[in-house]
């Protein structure tokens, strides 16, 4: 048994993989963790990561990704389906779960593809993937441009009780785009990705959710217009949820001025007004969850000129420190967006809370720890982060998954 002493509440007892009802100290052998003066929260959940395995183990493996998660305070992650070999069948789901079990670190929940081969043409076997353990479906990385397919996915997944996670990007508007469309892109001579390309698909998805009664989840919201669309849809009672990334909550398109690949992400970093709207969206709960879109690439891929390098940065090991410095989001809402909210969206009913009977996933945070981001120390195989060299305050000190401490 593990006993975590904490401020302002009874000791937290972890036993048999679950949180036990509070009992006074007994004679039984127990490990005592003194977390007084620290923040004890439900294990963090990142509902949007790319672990690349199977197929692109040079970029990341399930084991290195799960290690990076634990190092960053995340006890659970949802792995997107666009690995080297796409996860579009039950076989892929089982593989991910098996590799995650071998690694024995953070929990890895597979997300199955919406369409066969992520081709956006016909539905993948959503039902069999759900049976095998997929928690949601997404063609993330590629938008589902075919509205009919999206409609069928939302309709069909209702039966399975799983959300469709949507990467909103009207692909016709973003061909060859390298950064946000606007003044900075015009000055830098880089093709722009207009915020409207996100808003247009988000609006479509909201209408399709209304039409079908399905649950659509808008991934990595980056634009003010999208926040507005989600806010209105929720008011209308449509089943829509949303997430935002730490980088879209903190950085703007101005970062691109040096043409550095560590700022190339998709959707792109946007304007100050967009960042403020996304922060406000998280603060008022319009955007339910915060997820990193952890997207590791090899050093060789990223150390190229902007036009040639792939989009995406790692996020698992920096998210907490970055987020604790964001102003405008109350601490409780921030933790909710990293725990209870993603658990609710993904239907992980035993996670995201510290109540008796819940899974014994716990993160102990030192909110005052000052540290400098050094990618060479990452557990992830990815090294490219826009936060490289930054000094952050706050990091995960101890992480318990299923009652076992990850070190």
């Amino acid at each position: 048994m593990i006993r975590i002493r904490r401020d302002g509440a009874d000791d937290l007892l972890l036993e048999g993989g679950r949180i036990a009802a509070a009992v006074p100290p007994s004679g039984a052998p127990e490990t005592v963790v003194d977390a007084r003066g620290l923040l004890v929260v439900p294990g963090l959940i990142d509902m949007h990561v790319h672990l690349r395995e199977p197929g692109r183990e040079d970029q990341e493996t399930i084991a290195t990704g799960a290690a990076a998660a634990a190092a960053g305070g995340f006890t659970s992650v949802a792995a997107m389906a666009n690995s080297g070999i796409p996860c579009d069948t039950a076989v892929g789901v089982v593989y991910v779960l098996a590799r995650a079990r071998e690694a024995g670190l953070a929990n890895v929940f597979p997300v199955g593809a919406v369409s066969k081969g992520l081709r956006g043409e016909e539905l993948a076997e959503l039902g069999r993937m759900a049976e095998a353990g997929a928690v949601a479906f997404s063609d993330d990385g590629r938008p589902v441009m075919n509205s009919e397919l999206m409609r069928r996915a939302l309709e069909y997944s209702k039966m399975l009780g799983k959300p469709i996670l949507s990467h909103c990007e009207d692909a016709g508007l973003t061909r060859g785009a390298l950064m946000n469309e606007g003044r900075v892109a015009a000055e830098l001579g880089l093709r722009g990705w207009p915020a409207e390309a996100e808003a247009i698909l988000a609006a479509r998805d909201v209408y399709l959710a209304a039409l079908t009664g399905g649950h659509v989840h808008i991934q990595h919201v980056s634009a003010r217009e999208t926040v507005e669309i989600v806010r209105r849809a929720k008011k209308m009672g449509i089943r829509v949820t949303a997430e935002a990334t730490p980088h879209h909550l903190t950085l703007t398109e101005e970062c691109l001025r040096g043409y550095e690949s560590r700022y190339k992400v998709n959707p792109p970093l946007r304007s100050k007004a967009d960042v403020e709207a996304v922060v406000e969206g998280v603060a008022d709960g319009t955007i339910d969850a915060i997820a990193t879109d952890h997207a590791p690439h090899t050093v060789e891929e990223k150390e190229q000129e902007l036009a040639a390098c792939p989009s995406g940065v790692v996020g698992l090991e920096t998210a907490l420190g970055v987020l604790l410095s964001v102003r405008g989001i109350p601490r409780e809402r921030l933790i909710d967006a990293l725990t209870a909210a993603p658990a609710r969206i993904l239907g992980l009913s035993a996670k995201g809370r510290l109540e008796p009977g819940a899974d014994a996933d716990v993160t102990v945070i030192d909110p005052r720890a000052v540290w400098t981001v050094d990618p060479s120390k990452f557990r992830s195989r990815g090294r490219s982060t826009p936060f490289e060299g930054m000094t952050l305050t706050g990091r995960a000190l101890r992480v318990f998954v299923g009652g076992r401490e990850c070190s």
């Binding site: 061909r175 060859g176 390298l178 606007g182 003044r183 015009a186 000055e187 830098l188 001579g189 880089l190 093709r191 040096g258 043409y259 060789e300 150390e303 190229q304 000129e305 902007l306 036009a307 040639a308």
Partner: protein, 311 residues
């Protein structure tokens, strides 16, 4: 000697080791390059101030005049020139920019002149090499020596480089010449208007936009025509070349609209019969060949200034 004295007295203020874009230069620095270029024009012959230096012409995109112009400028100053052509080089074998850069560096190069299809490539390169990097055109971003030679041409023909009304006409969206000229001209206190169809003119470049070409022709001192960069376009930005010529081609008929004393420029290469007619290109209003000649002079000035800052 006059040039030595000029360099000693006036060029101490220059601190840039690389020439990446006009955005980075102040008004004073731009005027200094132009003055030094005019000093170079008065030289009786070659002057070996850069003997022992090597200039590497690293042109990943094709070029005729810019590459030749840099070579001539370097040779007139006594520097050695090494040319690079992508089709016969290791780039064709899949070598990345990083390793090509490192390789060049190990050959003991003083100046790396880079032209590249990706906007920002010279910035990437300047972080990797110790030599002075000169941007000879990066994607749709900047082409600083082109702007400098255009300014020198205006100065010589119109007697000034401030208080002018300049129209940049055509494919602004994909043009590095447009951006470099726009920023340089604005810094020197000129009024710049962008002219072209809305699909080829970004709204947010910080200059007024018009699609009334005929009116622009009547109202400007300098008309700078730009080539349609079809190689950078992704389909469907205008319906047909015939329609483009109808609205934005500098035809023989339109030549008559120019105000007295106005000049006609084009950075080249021209597509005769498309954005500019032969009658216009070869008319007495055209200063296109002067632009080419002035290119060698501003590039000599740039090499001299960068070599001093690198020391």
């Amino acid at each position: 000697m006059a040039l030595d004295a000029f360099l000693a007295s006036r060029c101490r203020a220059w601190t840039h080791r690389h020439l990446l874009g006009m955005k980075d230069l102040s008004r004073e620095e731009i005027l200094l390059v132009l003055s030094l270029a005019e000093e170079c024009a008065s030289l009786p012959g070659d002057i070996p101030l850069l003997r022992g230096c090597r200039l590497f012409n690293f042109f990943v995109e094709p070029s005729t005049r810019t590459k030749t112009s840099f070579s001539l400028a370097a040779r007139r100053l006594g520097a050695e020139v090494i040319d690079f052509s992508p089709s016969t080089s290791s780039l064709a074998k899949g070598e990345g920019l990083k390793d090509t850069a490192r390789t060049i560096e190990s050959m003991g190069v003083t100046f790396t002149v880079i032209r590249h299809g990706a906007s920002g490539a010279p910035w990437f390169l300047s972080r990797l090499v110790g030599s002075s990097v000169i941007n000879a055109g990066d994607g749709s971003h900047e082409h600083p020596t082109q702007a400098l030679l255009d300014l020198l041409t205006m100065k010589k023909r119109l007697g000034r480089v401030s208080g002018l009304k300049v129209a940049l006409v055509g494919d602004i969206a994909h043009s590095r010449v447009a951006r470099s000229n726009l920023w340089a001209l604005q810094k020197l206190g000129n009024e710049v208007t962008l002219v072209g169809p809305p699909t080829l003119v970004p709204r947010d470049l910080g200059a007024p936009v018009t699609w009334d070409f005929d009116r622009a022709l009547r109202e400007h001192d300098v008309i700078m025509m730009l080539r349609l960069q079809t190689e950078r376009m992704q389909g469907g930005l205008f319906p047909s070349t015939a329609e483009y010529i109808r609205f934005f081609g500098l035809t023989r008929e339109r030549l008559g609209l120019l105000r007295p004393g106005a000049i006609l420029m084009h950075p080249g290469p021209m597509i005769r019969g498309l954005e500019i007619s032969s009658e216009a290109a070869d008319s007495d209003r055209s200063v296109i060949l002067h632009q080419v000649a002035n290119g060698v002079l501003v590039r000599m000035a740039v090499l001299l200034l960068l070599s001093r800052a690198a020391r």
